[in-house]
Amino acid sequence: MTPLLQVSNIAKFYGHRIGCTDVSFDLYPGEVMGIVGESGSGKSTLLNCLAGHLTPDTGAVRFDTRTDGLRDTVTMSEPERRMLSRTDWAFVHQHARDGLRMNVSAGGNVGERLMAVGARHYGDIRATATDWLGRVEISEDRIDDRPTAFSGGMQQRLQIARNLVTGPRLVFMDEPTGGLDVSVQARLLDLLRGLVREMNLSAIIVTHDLAVVRLLADRLMVMKDGHVVETGLTDQVLDDPQHGYTQLLVSSVLQV
């Protein structure tokens, strides 16, 4: 099987400070990978390099495009990369307002992504938007409300609907459940798991919440000071951590 994403030797420096360095991995279709580490460990920098928001200083991010097979997204042209981020990629931000247009209705937020890939029939767009709002459990009568009138959890679900409506193959998530209360978090996790399975999505999830990765991620990458210190199967890394830092991380979780 061809990997969906092939990352080799990614490095990003801020001046002489390390953002992240020496990162390589393959991600296969249907696989969910978690990236954990403390604040400042380079996990968001890495995610932004992978998603094309930042240009890495070295390395390649090869994505298995539908038409031309593996292409390096770092060196591809800006319009090509933008096309990818509208079609095959999705990016779920930690703060829903970074990923939504706050002054456009919920239906408009979902419909906009559809229009960006060529949908023009208003009725179809609205029907698809309604369907997706239903899938993320936002009731139909809220379709014309603006996200500013939504709760944090609803905004996050709307952001997910907006991102997944075009049937992406790879989803980048930056702390998707951060800032949500635990009951909303649980619902969102269940929703994400269902969507990942039904749509055979691959996902890269950055978080510092180990409980979230245990439930969502197949594989785990642990970062510290810009370096990957440990990788492996999620439950193996959490239950039998090999690196001192991972052991510290796992043993520092407060028990409920």
Binding site: R197, R219, Q236, D239, D240, G244
Partner: protein, 247 residues
Amino acid sequence: MIRNTGTPNFLFPLSCRFKLMISVENVSKSFTLHNQGAAVIPVMRGASLQVARGECVALVGASGAGKSTLMRMIYGNYLAAAGRIMIGDVDVAVAQPRDILQLRRYTLGYVSQFLRVVPRVPTVAVVAEPLLATGTPRDAALARAEVLLDRLNIPQRLWSLSPTTFSGGEQQRVNIARGFAYDYPALLLDEPTASLDGTNREVVMSMIEQAKARGAAIIGIFHDEAARARVCDREIDVTGFTPKAAA
């Protein structure tokens, strides 16, 4: 061994291809506690065992002897420091995460002592999940889950609720239903009857016997001697694999 070309191995039930299902060879394990003075604790040395299809083997030994550790290494939950752990033709000790995931999806089931689920997911969906993951249609998967829950005497009114609030015994039965939902060619059972009453213990016993009859290779930890005597063909004392304290 039949060499197939091109087709993924998991499409052939491993039980058709190997008489020997699980083979552990000379496995050792130690824990290094980096944050506690880098203490190295050797917990296992020279562990070896074989389980054929249709056979149930009990791991025995005093508490702390390493029964669960060995079982977790076989499942890929703990890393083996050395040795080989063959499940069919996959060496868990060195396999890539995605190969282990594939193995766990189609070949190797595990009933742990504790239920770990996404909160707020209904019990019936929790039990059906291994079937959905292997591509069983939703209706069929849920129907099978209901049959299992019924057999394990979980009242129907609880099926649509999340098991997180269930009693210990109920959670364990949900866990067993989930572990037996898909017909894994190899099964690991960590004290499956520990907190069950007589009736339910009997149900679990018969489920294990049925799994053996269809050719599953089973490794179990049973504290209940009667249960062990009834379903297990052999016992392996893991005390023999415990490293002697350095003199």
